[in-house]
Amino acid sequence: MSALSIKNIWKEYGDQIVLENVSIEIESRAFVALVGPSGCGKSTFLRMLLGQETQTKGEILLDGEPLPKEPGPDRGVVFQRYSVFPHLTVLGNVMFGKELKASRFAARLFGAAKREVEDEARAMIAAVGLAGSEEKYPAQLSGGMQQRLALAQALIMRPKVLLLDEPFGALDPGIRAEIHTLMKTLWHEAPMTVVMVTHDMREAFTLGTRVVAFDRPRDRPEEKLRYGATITKDITIWPPRQAGVPSIFRPDRDGPVSSQGQ
């Protein structure tokens, strides 16, 4: 289970109100796409879910528990840039989280424990289509491959919630379509809730179960400071998308539900 419950949160920087009175219930296994104009606070909202920033007022609950005030392993993240560690190989990047978790002091594994994590990491690397690149450094990968790596690195930790901050915004359209198919498969297979910020409406409607729009209801220049953005539209995709279930009307619409085929 991984339901998010956001209750009346406000975010202010000094006098500037960025978000006002945002409330939304995100059911477990949903794929929520956040859209809205630049500077409307959707990335700020995502960073609050991540724990990188704290809300000024209101509360965020994950499965009924208040979110910790700092990022943790229950919430994975993929940013548009700088999501992978440049000093680790592909394999090192994917193994990294497991190593950190298992070896609190040395943060490295050896022997049998290492081989076990390595096997799991190789399977994850293959699942995101990076097999054969295990020994490469991120600088040797294309942008699309780096984002696949970032997904593998986050998903091996089995987070309850996966947060995506414009993860595919810098990719060209062909690569983006490929990674959308991968993203759907991963969402179908991994028991997680996804919240994604995007600028691309097509992407939002292709991937999401729900598309949530942020906007400023009052946007006159003299109102900008004291009125923030809030949720203005909350659209559930029809016919509904469900994690792990092919669409009843067009079974191929959401891509392969499992990596083993339909």
Binding site: G72, R75, H87, L100, K101
Partner: protein, 272 residues
């Protein structure tokens, strides 16, 4: 084609690189020949044969009094001091640079202090070091450490702070503790920069070494240069200066090779 788009080939590049060196050598030879023609006992610009004699005397013939090969004993003495000073400075810089870069509390505590210390002119402290620590090796090594460490600390701390915040947050979502982030995210990413900073600090380190040796020592490259200055022995001073330069350049190249060997990713990231 525009000048900015024209690149020399390999052979031409080598020739161009050697040209300034050759020009300096030619200018020296002309000056030396002219002065010697006027006065065969001139000591300011000794001829190439006199330089070769001096090198032979210093490097390959034992000194009559001690039986030492002076160039090599001087080199060993100087390099030991340099290695001691730079080694200690590196260890200090890594420790403080890392904790200042990672922990906001350590940053608040140490950062202004280190910034202030780095502004103290090290040579002004040399008399204090001699008075407090005596004239032995300790004060010379201490001068190098005081001169070099604060700058490396600041540089490493700045490098650590300017790592993308996303990487730190990502590590947190992978369950990393503060210790693990310092050890496996920040430390490996500032090590290549440490080597580069060390290369840039080689010049100052040699400066402090020679200053300390000039004032108080009984061996070392700087000591020798300032000793033979009394006899106007340019035939010894010139080869010693060239030798110091060669040592510094070789260390510089070696350090960069070390970086590329141990941190191949830092070379890949360069183009980005």
């Amino acid at each position: 084609m525009r000048w900015i788009n024209q690149h020399p080939g390999n052979g031409l590049r080598l020739a161009l690189a050697l040209m300034p060196f050759a020009l300096v050598l030619i200018a020296y030879t002309i000056g030396s020949v002219e002065r010697l023609a006027e006065n065969p006992n001139d000591k300011l610009l000794p001829g190439l044969s006199a330089l070769a004699d001096a090198v032979n005397r210093m490097a390959f013939m034992p000194e009559a009094r001690t039986g030492n090969y002076l160039l090599w004993t001087d080199t060993a003495a100087s390099l030991q001091r340099l290695a001691g000073g730079l080694g200690l400075a590196t260890a200090l810089a890594l420790l403080f640079g890392l904790i200042i870069g990672v922990l906001p509390f350590a940053r608040a505590l140490f950062s202004p202090f280190v910034a202030a210390i780095s502004m103290v002119p090290p040579l002004a402290l040399l008399p204090i070091l001699f008075i407090v620590m005596g004239l032995g090796e300790g004060s010379k090594i201490a001068l190098i450490v005081i001169g070099v460490a604060p700058i490396i600390i600041r540089d490493l701390a700045l490098t650590a702070i300017s790592l993308p915040r996303e990487l730190i947050v990502k590590a947190e979502t992978l369950s990393a503790s503060s210790w693990q982030i310092a050890l496996r995210v920040v430390l490996p990413q500032i090590l290549p920069r440490l080597i580069t900073t060390l290369r840039l600090q080689l010049g100052p380190a040699w400066l402090f070494l020679i200053a300390a040796e000039a004032i108080s020592s009984d061996s070392g490259l700087g000591y020798r240069i300032f000793l033979v200055r009394r006899y106007l022995s340019m035939d010894v001073i010139f080869p010693y200066v060239i030798w110091i330069t060669v040592l510094a350049v070789a260390t510089d190249i070696l350090l960069d090779r070390l970086r590329i060997t141990f941190f191949p990713w830092s070379e890949l990231e360069k183009g980005k």
